[in-house]
Subunit: 176 residues, 2 copies
DNA sequence: GTTTGCATGTAAACGGTTACATGATTGG
DNA sequence: CCAATCATGTAACCGTTTACATGCAAAC
């Protein structure tokens, strides 16, 4: 999803500054399937404002840049819903880790082992944060999304734990 | 993974033209976690050649551009292994579908239903092609990667089938 | 005392995609 | 007859990341 649409979506849930949008995208409810950096959020918000899909009010602050609080307009809401209604781009998944595992036979065994360990730990951590998030009440859409991501991660973890030994055996035994 | 590294990796399995590399990346063994287009493969291959990580021999063909068959060099192999040994970039997953589900409450119920149906069908298709691929013998790394992707898709499908009704209920009942 | 949080923005660079150009052959 | 396969390449464009600029306050 492009940053434009991400911004609009987050603003349907309430007013926000660019800074707050960034924080929201980094939360577990979003970060597993969407991304946006400052460098793309701020220009997107300005363009959206020019186009009348968003309005801004500046809140003055001392010794700090003004907070620019953005509100989605009625036109913005319409545009957002319309963009969700037209054919969605396909999912895109990139995993350097899985790609690397394709070539386990070319890598030293202990390195493969470390990669697996790190990836498993990393996935466990994501899972446990998702499960914490599951406690507090959320909109149904968020519950659904978190649940889906949780199911996927849990399945991957299961697989990794069971198959780990087998792929490690494939690795080159010694070597540089 | 950048296209450079993808090209090198595929070439460790045998000589290939840019065209063949593209085809390989599009196969089930790769496409679920790596991508590359012609516009990035051809320049990458040329740069790799300049750098001495790859060598080329042109095979003349009538009425068609020469096949430029690329072979990875010893330096190329070393560079490839080295790139897999240094800290891997994180996985990146983008799912416009899951993002859209976050806002199911803003969309007409029948549209949400269609989106779910399409996504489920799409995932089923991926799964069945992976399971077919599972029949023919492959390198252990490929078996591992396919298995992992299969496990993830299967879990997602399960979740979708069970939760579908619940998220549909969340959708706005009527109209645009 | 250093890191983190708050808060905005720009410019350059990067990596990649899309569309185009070219064109024969084979299969449906 | 049209679509797909084979085969390479370029140029324009696009969205994004990275680094920079600025700077106080609070927490550790």
């Amino acid at each position: 999803m492009d940053v434009r649409t991400i911004c609009l979506g987050i603003l349907t849930r309430g007013d926000a500054t660019g800074y707050e949008i960034k924080k929201t995208v980094e939360e577990d409810g979003h970060r597993h399937f969407a991304e946006a950096s400052f460098g793309s959020i701020y220009p997107a918000l300005n363009r959206l404002t020019e186009e009348g899909l968003v309005s801004v009010r500046a809140e003055a602050q001392e010794k700090r840049p003004d907070r620019k609080v953005h509100t989605i307009t009625r036109a913005g809401r319409r545009a957002f819903v319309a963009s969700l209604m037209e054919p969605l781009p396909e999912d895109r998944h990139r995993s350097p880790f899985v790609f690397a595992m394709l070539f386990a036979d070319l890598l030293p065994k202990d390195h493969v082992s470390r990669m697996l360990g790190a990836y498993i730990a990393h996935t466990e951590e994501k899972l446990s944060r998702l499960q914490q998030a599951d406690a507090k009440p959320r909109r149904e859409g968020e519950r659904f999304a978190d649940g889906l991501v949780t199911a996927a991660y849990a399945a991957v973890l299961d697989y990794l734990r069971i198959q780990r030994a087998k792929i490690e055996t494939t690795a080159a035994q010694a070597a540089e």
